[in-house]
Amino acid sequence: MALPVPGSEIAGAEVPVGGDAPAPRATSRLRRAIRGNRKATVGAAILLLIIFVAVFPGLLAPDSPSAAVYAQDASPSSAHLLGTTQLGQDVLSQLIWSTRQTLFVTLLVSVIATFLSMIVGVTAAYVGGLTDRVITVIIDVFLILPVLPLLILLAAYLPPGVTSLTIVLCITSWAFQARQLRSQGLSLRNRDFLVSARVRGERGLYIVLREIVPTMTSLLVASFLSLAVYVVGFAASLQFLGLGNSGQLMWGTMLYNANQGAALESGNVWWALAPGAAVALLGASFALLNYAFDEIGNPALRRIRRRRRARPTA
């Protein structure tokens, strides 16, 4: 599932589940698949670029992001490719230096939330019975609760900053893929290789970690990717609304400052559009990778080569 349609899970729709055997060496296949699929290549390229900028901001940024020494609200020029902020800071430098924190929060939250989803989902599947039913209800409740309102409510009353941001995002995201992971856990429960592990006398935790999790890798990666798309957007939205720490260097806070500084009206367009575009780009890269991942995993969704002009399908 690329775009999450959490409701369809609750409604009882079936989830396409992964393979029949423990995951084989998939890395070479993965690399080949990425190169072969255009969406994946573009997505991966964008993501790698962003990671590079995050890791080496000093190499690329012409200025220090906080040096408020330049002409205020300047339009783009050769000295300041994206103009300056209301306080006279170089927008481009700010953008570059904000990459690290933004990417860090996105990845951290996505990893934690995916991990939590997996623990909950697999536990529910493996333990079964009443525990399973209770967990499922909890998951469903979290899936129905509207995310941004909950985020706002929580974030408004925690001290503004990256830690709070991470915490509230994790709280609202952990349930995201829990249903899918539980489904796969259920279907794996009685697979031959697991039964043989039980028969060999392996303990539950071993089975979970060494047998189940590797098989679920593809679903975990898909979950991570689709979650990341939304984390990027929600984090930026929260900060845009002013619930982050406006002093911190993140794309969302740049957007907040730009909006407060009436960037668009005063002609200082890039101050607002550049971080927005950056957020969009990061989200799009995850989305592309996710879309491609879906197609690689589910051949029915792939592009069909056409010999003649398009004909009706059925």
């Binding site: 959490p6 609750i10 729709a13 469903d140 939205s237 845009f240 609304l241 668009l264 398009a310 059925a314």
Partner: protein
């Protein structure tokens, strides 16, 4: 029927969870935030201050369980406290809802139609240009945060071209009336926010609709429809689309929470005085009761829509109707 009963149970539990979150927040709020809230209300009216005291559990001779139950009782009777301006929360929300209802309601319907048709057509003409261009495009667009679309639109249409306004829901000097010029004014102000919402929502819908259609199209009964010599249109809508939409309805209702969240951001961006903007100002005002009331409102809205979707699905799908 039993399914609906189970769903009803889930909804009640969700409502209870929302109420509990509301109750828990003031109780667990860090000290300085609590102080900020109380400061906002200090000079308003005694009833508001008293209600707040109850929420924070200060100056009240009750244990936490009693407070919890009382909070519940209050919520059930519709008394959600007062806003920072001294207006009853319920009243404030109800008077603001129509603007958001109009905006989100209309855009959701439009997005549904566009998304459904685009999804159906692109799946039907698989491999054609529509299928190559549309779903990836709309998919990307739907993953882009909605405020970016809004920003772009503001820049393009409001500032550069100066065609449309980008702030508020009608011109500052105008007086509300049912005159044509006022209505046109309202529409003009709603166009950009509406367009932003439509673009994002339709994108969400296209993707899942297309995938559903692709699966449905490979079903035998669609082939049978073709075999019977029915027209292509007929097979596409009556046999494929009709069966493909159904499982999606509930999923779409579930995504309404996401759409409503997007509406909050859009209303903030465009200073459109709907419920979302109210939520934003409540945040800056430290207006806790209003925020809690709004959170409840949003939860209820999503629940109602999901319930409706369930009912419609049950009504349309003959398999759920037993003789």
């Amino acid at each position: 029927m039993r399914y609906l009963a189970k769903r009803g149970g889930l909804f009640l539990i969700t409502l209870w969870a929302a109420l509990t979150v509301n109750f828990a927040i003031p109780r667990f709020m860090p000290g300085n935030e609590a102080a900020a809230v109380l400061a906002t209300f200090r000079n308003v009216n005694p009833a508001a201050v008293h209600a707040l005291d109850l929420e924070f559990g200060v100056n009240v001779h009750q244990n936490i369980v009693q407070s919890y139950l009382q909070y519940f009782g209050n919520s059930l009777t519709g008394s959600f406290g007062y806003t920072a301006q001294g207006v009853p929360v319920l009243h404030q929300i109800v008077s603001t809802v129509p603007w958001t209802l109009g905006l989100v309601g209309v855009t959701t319907v439009i997005a549904f139609v566009i998304g459904t048709v685009a999804g159906i057509l692109s799946a039907w003409w698989r491999g054609g240009r529509l299928d190559a261009l549309l779903p990836p495009m709309l998919f990307i667009v739907s993953t882009v945060p909605v405020f970016f679309i809004g920003l772009l639109l503001i820049y393009l249409f409001a500032i550069k071209l100066n065609w449309l306004p980008f702030s508020s829901n009608y011109d500052l000097g105008a007086t509300p009336s049912f005159s044509l010029s006022f209505i046109w004014d309202v529409i003009k102000h709603a166009l950009l926010p509406a367009f932003s919402l439509v673009v994002v929502t339709a994108g969400l819908w296209v993707y899942s609709m297309r995938n559903n259609m692709v699966t449905t199209i490979s079903e035998d009964y669609v082939k049978m429809g073709r075999a019977k010599g029915l027209s292509s249109m007929r097979v596409m809508f009556d046999y494929a689309a009709r069966n493909a939409i159904l499982p999606n309805l509930t999923g779409f209702a579930m995504q309404l929470g996401y759409v409503l969240g997007g509406a909050i951001v859009i209303e903030y961006l465009f200073s459109y005085p709907g419920v979302g903007y109210l939520f934003y100002t409540a945040t800056t005002d430290h207006d806790l009761p209003l925020m809690q009331g709004l959170f409840l409102f949003y939860t209820l809205a999503v629940l109602i829509c999901v319930l409706l979707a369930d009912l419609v699905t049950a009504a349309i799908d003959p398999r759920t109707r037993e003789a």
